[in-house]
């Protein structure tokens, strides 16, 4: 677990880049720090491996203040991936991956085995890539090696600073998917910085929206989309964003909870849905049974109903440009 407690960062004693920021990241979570450029998201991340020292406040990893650990030891136990990849051009792919294990004096045979394992894990055939130099790889392949290198010492935490921003959209999408798979498999804690809201929503377990060095909202992507904490976030994520991610719409979001005869509805014989049933399933049920009304039931109590008008009003709400129709 990573805890940032009232952390501030000023440069030259005046420019407040991070302003009294507190954040708690649980083990195994993929947390995205998102915001416009210059909002302090990268600085926040870099304070975790002490590439930047916090001006005030405390940062703890598993309860221990990071200032008590030597900065170099700390960094060797935290994976680090950056946008420009930063592979060492004079070393082969295999040597690049082995850099940190060699620094910490691991057994060479183990390093070799681990390197092959990591290459396969990041989707590169080791027999093809082990002895190549970075300049012989495409941008996407380079960043795969970058990720493999960050995982080499099997760190619990991996920091990623806009790792996919320089890639073409198709490669970016692939690498995002693979990162999600990796996280599912490895249960590592990822702190991921991006300015791309779509990316944040796609990969984040939780998203921290940062503005002027402060966290505006820290919640799941779904909550941030449906209940933006303020106007800034609403503008930042964009009104139409929910429409682009319809899998996040659930019965709860469509239902009419002011239906007059709610109490009169007999649930027993009827088809009904849970509040968290996805919209797609609700629509399937609606079509299959040709129902004019579907009750939404939570623990035996009808909390709302879905009707054709309620579906239409949702459409009006989320389709761009149709507000106020």
């Amino acid at each position: 677990m990573i805890q940032l407690i009232d952390v501030s960062k000023t440069f030259n004693g005046k420019d407040m880049v991070v302003d009294n920021l507190s954040l708690e990241i649980k083990q195994g979570e993929l947390v995205v720090l998102v915001g416009e450029s210059g909002c302090g998201k990268t600085t926040t991340m870099k304070m975790i491996n002490r590439l930047e020292e916090a001006s005030s406040g405390t940062i703890k990893i598993n309860g221990k203040d990071i200032k008590e650990t030597n900065a170099i030891d700390l960094r060797r136990n935290i994976g680090y991936v950056i946008q420009q990849v930063g592979l060492f051009p004079h070393l082969t792919v295999g040597q690049n991956i082995g850099v940190v294990p060699r620094l910490t004096k691991n057994d060479p045979a183990k390093i070799a085995k681990r390197t092959i394992e990591l290459l396969e894990m990041t989707g590169l055939k080791h027999e093809d890539y082990l002895n190549r130099y970075p300049k012989e790889l495409s941008g996407g392949q380079q960043q795969r090696v970058g990720v493999a290198r960050a995982l080499a010492n099997n760190p619990d935490i991996v920091l990623m600073d806009e790792p996919f921003s320089a890639l073409d959209p198709i490669t970016r999408c692939q690498l995002q998917d693979e990162l999600l798979n990796l996280q599912k498999e490895l249960h590592k804690t990822f702190v991921f910085v991006t300015h791309d809201v779509d990316e944040a929503i796609k990969i984040g377990d939780k998203i921290a929206v940062i503005q002027d060095g402060r966290i505006m909202q820290y919640d799941t992507p779904e909550t941030i989309l449906k209940k933006p904490a303020n106007q800034f976030i609403q503008n930042f994520v964009g009104q139409d964003r929910l429409w682009k991610t319809p899998e996040m719409l659930r019965a709860l979001d469509i239902m009419d909870d002011n239906y007059d005869n709610m109490k009169a509805i007999e649930v027993k014989d009827m088809v009904f849905v849970q509040p968290d049933t996805p919209l797609s399933e609700v629509l399937k049920l609606h079509e299959k049974h040709n129902l004019s009304i579907i009750p939404v039931v939570e623990q035996g109590v009808t909390v709302g109903v879905i009707t054709e008008p309620s579906i239409l009003s949702l459409l009006a709400e989320i389709i761009p440009g149709s507000e106020g129709l």
Partner: protein
């Protein structure tokens, strides 16, 4: 033309001897300049002010005319080899320090950031990342120092150090053109040959990952 060939054939041993003197002066001086200049170039990367100070000093040394340099060193180390090697050494410092310094400083900041973020100490970064990447630039400095050294060493004969300069100056003084020309050509060939060998060495020392084909 026959005169020249005749001269070379008859004085083969003399030319070789003068060449070996020449090589000794230039190589000793450049080797010392490497031993001193490369560490200085690496170290001054830590401090901008120190870097400016050192570079200015080296620049000033470079502006002293070579004949004046030999003369200025006479009160310090007398004449002959000591003087010549010291002068050539001082000339070699600038290109070596300058190229080492720039070579290290020009390493892509993304690479040094990654190295730092992965937990390398600044010494490990210098030794494992920056220096190997700066090899071509550092070697370019060594090559410039060597070629300059071989050139300037021709004047060392004036302070009694021999070298191919001896053939040139003697040739001029007795109007023996074949002697003069063969000394000059040998010095030029020596410079070309050394530069070629250093080029091979540079290729050997440079990772295949950073050579451009």
């Amino acid at each position: 033309m026959e005169k020249y060939i005749y001269y070379v054939l008859n004085n083969w041993d003399k030319i070789l001897f003068r060449s070996s003197e020449h090589v000794f002066l230039a190589f000793t001086a450049v080797a010392l300049a490497c031993l001193v200049g490369i560490p200085i170039g690496l170290l001054i990367n830590r401090n901008k002010q120190l870097a400016n100070f050192v570079m200015n000093g080296a620049n000033i040394l470079q502006t002293v005319p070579s004949l004046a340099m030999f003369a200025l060193l006479i009160p310090l180390v007398g004449i002959r080899d000591k003087n010549a090697i010291l002068a050539l050494f001082l000339y070699g410092l600038l290109p070596i320090i300058k190229n080492t310094y720039t070579g290290i400083r020009n390493v892509d900041p993304a690479i040094t950031e990654a190295a730092k973020g992965m937990g390398m100490s600044s010494f490990q970064m210098l030794y494992k990342v920056q220096t190997p990447l700066a090899v071509p630039v550092i070697m370019a400095g060594v090559r410039i120092a060597t070629v300059t050294g071989i050139g300037v060493a021709t004047i060392a004969t004036l302070i009694g150090s021999g070298g191919l300069g001896a053939l040139i100056y003697q040739g001029i003084s007795v109007m023996n053109y074949p002697m003069m020309i063969s000394g000059a050509l040998a010095a030029a060939l020596l410079a070309l040959l050394t530069d070629y060998i250093l080029g091979l060495l540079e290729r050997l020392m440079t990772s295949k990952g950073i050579t451009t084909k």
